[in-house]
Symmetry: C2
Subunit: 215 residues, 2 copies
């Protein structure tokens, strides 16, 4: 009588918890949210950090414009509403990955404080680690890895962060990485040390402290 | 000279590949897409399958209405366009998780063939395994675990799949689980055996065959 047996089994919350997944992975899920100007060094640090984490046997996954703007958010533009919806959806995806036990490396300009704050507030304490990739506009513009500042200055791109759209500096980032002072390798190591010191490389509960000596 | 060193390092594709993640997890990422009527048994089988996979040390993650409709897709309703966008976004999230090396258990009515097909086509061969959770409308309606058929029959819900909105039966599901014939436990085991037989429990390449004896 499969039907009767089936009707006796119903779990809304499931039979597996986040901590089961974290025990399996021997780590804690977390979203490392890298914010900063175009050219500040987000992608470079994200790639190095990803490599270092995998080498240490930690499961991580990188979310960035390449895999989000051409996929999940392909139906969004760059209006203020679309920018907000862009970050909201990325935040929701990061939240799911974090719940899955994965270390998420999210690398987005994400210029508005309010949008970043909304992502932070959607997650439990300790799940969202904001990392400000700090560089002056002059430094970022002088690097101009994609030639976008040049286009923005020439008026070929409008609404470009730092030129004719604001970048709001985080006021409570857990980690600040000044890429005019640190090499990308050292910046990635700073994040690794933060995770290590706070117990993210073990499935046990994490120190709820989200501000401290790394600021 | 951190700035100069930084400018020499730039990777668009990253330093880590999907196969690095799969080697770490000793499994291959895949999306198990469960489709079927409300009351067909999707959630019950999904929960059992999730438990069995975790017990075997396989990292899996369940996507369902509970964690998607209240989060990523909270700004979508039930119009035909919104249903399509709902499935599109879920497909994109499943694709990211699969790329991360995770076994995704996606459990959604997903009534339209076209929408499921679009998700399948967005993924490499072997990454999308469609699982038809088969039950007659009469059987599903007699179970009515959430009392939704009753409300739909009373006209309190409109556009309800099976009542006044169509369910399009998959015509090329890799796995068909008839919940009037199989217990939920046996159904979950059928999926485990499918994954095992096709090499998903190893990081090596998977047999590209997506139709076969399980149909």
């Amino acid at each position: 009588m499969p039907q009767e047996r089936s009707s006796n089994i119903r779990w809304h919350e499931g039979l597996v918890s986040r901590s089961d997944r974290q025990n399996l992975l021997a780590q804690r899920g977390v979203t490392l949210w890298m914010t900063g100007l175009s050219g500040a060094g987000k992608s470079t640090i994200a790639c190095l950090l990803e490599r270092d984490l995998i080498q240490r046997g930690r499961l991580c996954y990188r979310l960035d414009g390449d895999n989000i703007r051409h996929g999940l958010n392909q139906n969004l533009g760059f209006s203020p509403e679309d920018r907000t919806e862009n970050i909201r959806r990325i935040g929701e995806v990061a939240r799911l990955f974090t719940d899955a036990g994965v270390i998420v490396i999210a690398s987005f300009i994400s210029p508005y404080q309010r949008d970043r704050q909304a992502v932070r507030q959607s997650m439990p304490q300790g799940d969202f680690v904001e990392i400000y990739i700090k560089a002056t506009l002059a430094a970022a513009e002088s690097r101009d890895p994609k030639g976008l500042y040049k286009k923005a200055r020439a008026g070929q791109i409008t609404g470009f962060t730092g030129i004719d759209d604001p970048y709001e500096i985080p006021d409570k980032a857990e980690i600040v990485l000044d890429t005019e002072q640190l090499t990308p390798e050292a910046a990635a190591q700073t994040v690794i040390q933060y995770l290590q010191a706070r117990g993210y490389f073990s499935p046990a509960a994490v120190d709820g402290e989200t501000s401290g000596s790394d600021r």
